[in-house]
Amino acid sequence: MALNDSLREMFAMIELEMRRLRHDRTEIYTRAVQPILWLAVYGTVMSHVRDIPTNGIPYIDYITPGVLLQSTIFVSVFYGLTIVWERETGILKRLLVAPASRYATVIGRAIASGVRAVVQALIIFPVAILLGVKFIPNPLYIIAAFLMLFMISGGFAALSIFVASLMKTRERFMGIGQALIMPLFFASNALYPISLMPPFLQSIASINPLTYAVDAVRGLMISGDVANVPADFAAVIVFDILIFAVASISFRKIIE
């Protein structure tokens, strides 16, 4: 019974996100600009520097998974802003008074953000093809890659909700969000292999969930080397479970 209530709320949250997206798609398009610049400008320029060991993959192809993930994670990391806004209005109070459990609200919102992130990636994906990026033409691999995108985005959205429940105001949240996003991106294998990093950064990259997501998406979409993919998925599932639990527990705090 309680599980039913919770599942229903989760689906309602996803539906809400889809309906909001349908009414106003501007954000999806404007947010696609930055990743496209990363590919078209940064990728093109850096591909002339032939010192980055990419195992023979063109540099622009190499960074495509990282840029795709970065753009979706941007959406997720700032998803907490929606929660902060809903806290300032009465929506959160109201959701907490609804019959569904509180963890359903958190997980539902995180999943909804994951769905939004996948839509975001679907905009960038064809642009990458136009830029000449060669994807592995295996539909199963592509679907698995999008599943990874969805899972990691949901996890980061939960992290964002957790941060929102501690920060509570827009300004403080924005500060943390900005401070989080770039290190997350740079301390991962999104733009360069981990082996190029100094040891200290390597150890950070190895606990950065984004590293595992990039590795999986790169294997599935670009290199075809899928040996590590199961381990990558396992790492991201562990991250998701942990962060969903932490965010659900701290969510109560947001209305106090």
Binding site: L16, R19, H23, R94, L96, A98, P99
Partner: protein, 380 residues
């Protein structure tokens, strides 16, 4: 069991302490009758929002017990959430989707079965008079429409208790009226208990069956609005005394004179002039009235005062010129007796009016004192 269910809400010694120091609620005792409209009044920071948030299971109380239709708000919180509707003070709908979509999402969150969903949504829209705008984006709604949509969202599950935190804050008078008319209709149809917080005394007076005043985390007074007002013992009966027979004649004759003047000047058929004459006549009249009390016997005035003051239901008496003000608890009962006394003294009356205290007076008496200590009791 029967007697218990007469109450929608029962609260015993409810206490909420924030951060171990601020006593937002300090031993609240309260019962709210089922199927009525209950208004909780209190100054800012008095604890009324905190009380509502404890009752709606958002906060756990520090001590004490609160039940909604027998369900404990702490132990049976999941059950409580199934029977209540709640509209917070702040906006609680998504503005980037339509009104209908808001109701649809809330219907799914609240678990309205899909077979009944569409009907529930249209019922709620109809209850709040929003059928025509349901398909429009909420960001284009007026403040009153948004508030009605928020209430409509709470009505989807036909709650047994509807909690409204400052339901008409910031609305213009006609929007306020529309909100209340819709609420009264809904209440009548479904027998829902309505529990609302407000700053608007007129609203509590007009729409509530019961009122309680909270101040510094305690209920300081409760009852019907009428009971609270009469508890002030301050209805004022104002008599305008007539002068004795002679003066009446004077008064009448001046009016008659004026009429004569009118008649004499009637060939002018000038309305303005007529009015001017009337004004003159009135002024004559007023002059006489003002002049006469000076000639009145001061001893008899004093005697009149003493006699009325001696009546055991009279709290106070004032006399000035031809006006006699009597302060009593219940004007409707006191009035015939006082008239009898005045007649016995041979005093005629020109006008009588009874001024009843408003709920504002009640509020000021019980919650008017602001305590600097109270700051922040309502912190979110």
């Amino acid at each position: 069991m029967e007697s218990e269910l007469q109450f929608a809400i029962e609260i015993k010694q409810l206490t909420k302490v924030y951060d171990g120091k601020v006593n937002a609620l300090d031993g609240v005792d309260l019962t709210v009758k089922a199927a009525g409209i209950f208004a909780l009044l209190g100054p800012n920071g008095s604890g009324k929002t905190t009380l509502m948030r404890v009752l709606t299971t958002q906060f756990r109380p520090t001590a004490g017990v609160a039940r909604a239709f027998g369900y404990d708000v702490v132990k049976d919180d999941a059950m409580v959430r199934k029977i209540i509707g709640y509209v917070p003070q702040e906006m609680s709908v998504w503005t980037d989707i339509t009104g209908y979509e808001n109701l649809l999402i809330y219907a799914k969150i609240y678990g309205v079965p899909s077979s009944r969903r569409t009907k529930s949504i249209w019922d709620a829209l109809q209850s709040m008079g929003l059928e025509d705008v349901a398909g429009g984006a909420v960001k284009k709604y007026s403040g009153g429409m948004i508030r009605r949509l928020e209430i409509a969202c709470a009505l989807l599950i036909k709650p047994k208790i509807l909690f409204l935190d400052e339901p008409t804050l910031g609305l213009d008078p006609s929007a306020r009226k529309a909100v209340w008319q819709s609420l009264e209709m809904f209440k009548k149809e479904y027998g829902t208990t309505v529990f609302f917080n407000t700053h608007y005394m007129d609203e509590a007076d007009q729409y509530s069956d019961e009122v309680a005043i909270i101040n510094r985390g305690k209920i300081v007074k409760s009852g019907t609005a009428g009971e609270l007002k009469s508890s002030l013992h301050s209805e004022v009966i104002k008599f305008t005394l007539a002068n004795h027979g002679v003066d009446f004649k004077h008064t009448f004759s001046s009016v008659a004179d004026a009429k004569n003047v009118d008649a004499k000047n009637s060939h002018l058929k000038n309305a303005n002039l007529k009015n001017a004459d009337r004004n003159n006549a009135d002024r004559n009249n007023a002059d006489r009235n003002n002049a006469d009390p000076k000639n009145a016997d001061p001893k008899s005035r004093l005697r009149l005062l003493e006699t009325i003051k001696a009546l055991d239901f009279v709290d106070d008496v004032f006399i000035h010129d031809l006006n006699l003000d009597v302060v009593v608890e219940d004007g409707d009962v006191a009035l015939p007796i006082i008239i009898e006394v005045l007649r016995g003294q041979g005093i005629g009356l020109e006008r009588i009016s009874v001024t009843k205290p408003s709920l504002d007076d009640v509020f000021l008496k019980y919650a008017g004192m602001r305590h600097p200590k109270d700051k922040g009791g309502n912190a979110a």
